[in-house]
């Protein structure tokens, strides 16, 4: 189980004494309040600026940025080529404030090769285009197993790949960040970028999922 990766499930066996979840959380919250108080009182940070960082990641930077990049690549061959050659440069207009950080690399899925991104040493993730990583990406199970038994990991996401497909794992051990360019689903010919972007899931850009299939009428 994921107990060790998720504090919400960490104290289920402590019903009988006062180290239960509520007191643990309030102890954590007290430490966080202390941390923030020290930063503010010592003049390192304005409280409004700290709140604005949280708001930025809650409302402005997220996988919708990556989804638009993917949809553009699916509809514009010149953009696709530019993205695969220099993703940081090509993606910049889609980023928050019109920028994404350096060293972004896009890797393309094909019928012969499936790409998947992990960070075994910490939890490096392409924040600029996908936002903050989900808990599973930071989990010990994912970090330990993705480089060794990715097909078993993919099955836990409900993804089953052809046996002969190459599985290519990118372990983000430096400041290079990877996003996966998934394959465009069949049956989406003529779709607008906006409609296509709605098919692009966060997990499909990490390589643990595939884009949604178009619902309704298919050719």
């Amino acid at each position: 189980m994921a107990a060790m990766t998720d504090h919400h499930h960490h104290h289920h066996h402590h019903h009988d004494h006062d180290h239960g979840e509520a007191s643990d959380l309030s102890e954590t919250e007290l430490r966080v309040r202390a941390l923030q108080t020290i930063l503010v009182e010592k003049g390192y940070a304005d409280p409004a600026a700290l709140d604005a960082i949280v708001e930025t990641y809650e409302t402005k930077i997220g996988p919708h940025i990556g989804a638009r990049i993917v949809a553009r690549a699916w509809t514009d061959p010149a953009f696709r080529a530019a993205l695969l050659s220099d993703a940081a440069k090509a993606s910049a207009p889609f980023g928050h404030d019109g920028k994404v950080g350096d060293h972004l690399v896009a890797v393309e899925n094909t019928p012969e090769r499936h790409n998947m991104v992990v960070c075994t040493l910490c939890s490096c993730y392409p924040w600029d285009v996908l936002g903050l990583p989900p808990v599973w990406y930071k989990s010990f199970a994912y970090r330990s197993r993705a480089v060794k038994e990715p097909r078993a990991v993919l099955r836990e996401f409900g993804v089953s790949l052809p046996e002969q497909s190459e599985i290519r794992i990118w372990d983000s051990t430096a400041e290079v960040r990877y996003m996966v360019l998934p394959m465009r689903p069949a049956g989406t010919e003529g779709w607008s970028e906006e409609r296509l972007a709605a098919l692009v899931t966060r997990d499909s850009m990490i390589g643990t999922g595939l884009p949604h299939e178009p619902s309704g009428d298919r050719p």
Partner: protein, 218 residues
């Protein structure tokens, strides 16, 4: 350091459990920890490698809590380690004496743009790259006590240079406070069977980003 953080290839952590409709933060305190950490990074209080090394040095039982618990512990440690607060202030939960001037001043709304996207870790090179695309290289068998970004599971194994990323800040030096010491950075690809043995998935290829000092000619 050969710490608990270096998890590639370990067994025993169970299934990966994706959460449906996961919120960005599971509780407001997580966002506050993230913001405090990013703000201190943005004012130059410590660099990204010093921050990672701080987490790696947590005792394993503290490491094995949750992501933001680690960030909180790291932030408390780094404030003291880099002279931005004293241990009695962390314990008291408030400032007891004036702060230290940070390299890039105070974090305000005016420099929120430092948060929204990452900076560049590219640096000019002082020597030509030792390896070329397609070269066979071996990840060195090194076990430094300090911070390194060469995971254990590739050490001693043969791989192929697949990409060249230019010269970048060398984490092993930056974490030790020894400056950028730029080094060439390569994507090195390994065959799954070379890493995990003959019965590994034959379709598996794994790459890491490897700085030139991590590599030797095959």
């Amino acid at each position: 350091m050969n710490g608990i953080h270096d998890m590639g290839g370990m067994d025993g952590f169970g299934r990966v459990e994706p959460e449906e409709s996961e919120p960005v933060f599971h509780g407001a305190w997580e966002g506050k920890v993230m913001a405090a950490s990013r703000a201190m990074g943005a004012i130059g209080a410590w660099n990204i490698d010093q921050g990672r090394y701080g987490i790696e040095q947590l005792a394993p039982q503290r490491y094995l809590t949750s992501y933001y618990h680690r960030w909180l512990a790291r932030c408390e440690w780094a404030l003291v380690e880099y002279g931005y607060a004293d241990a009695d202030e962390i314990a008291a939960g408030r400032s007891l004496r004036p702060g230290k001037a940070a390299p890039r001043g105070r974090f305000t709304l005016a420099n929120l743009d430092r948060i929204g996207n990452r900076g560049s870790y590219a640096r000019p090179s002082s020597a030509p790259a030792r390896f070329a695309l397609g070269d066979r290289v071996r990840a060195k068998n090194i076990n430094p006590k300090g911070h390194t970004r060469l995971p254990r599971y590739v050490r001693g194994h043969l791989g192929t240079v697949e990409r060249l990323h230019g010269c970048q800040v060398f984490p092993d030096s930056a974490a030790a406070g020894e400056g950028d010491n730029p080094q060439w950075l390569y994507t090195v690809r390994f065959d799954g069977r070379d890493l995990w043995g003959a019965d590994a998935d034959p379709t598996l290829r794994v790459s890491v980003e490897a700085f030139e000092p991590y590599l030797e000619p095959a």
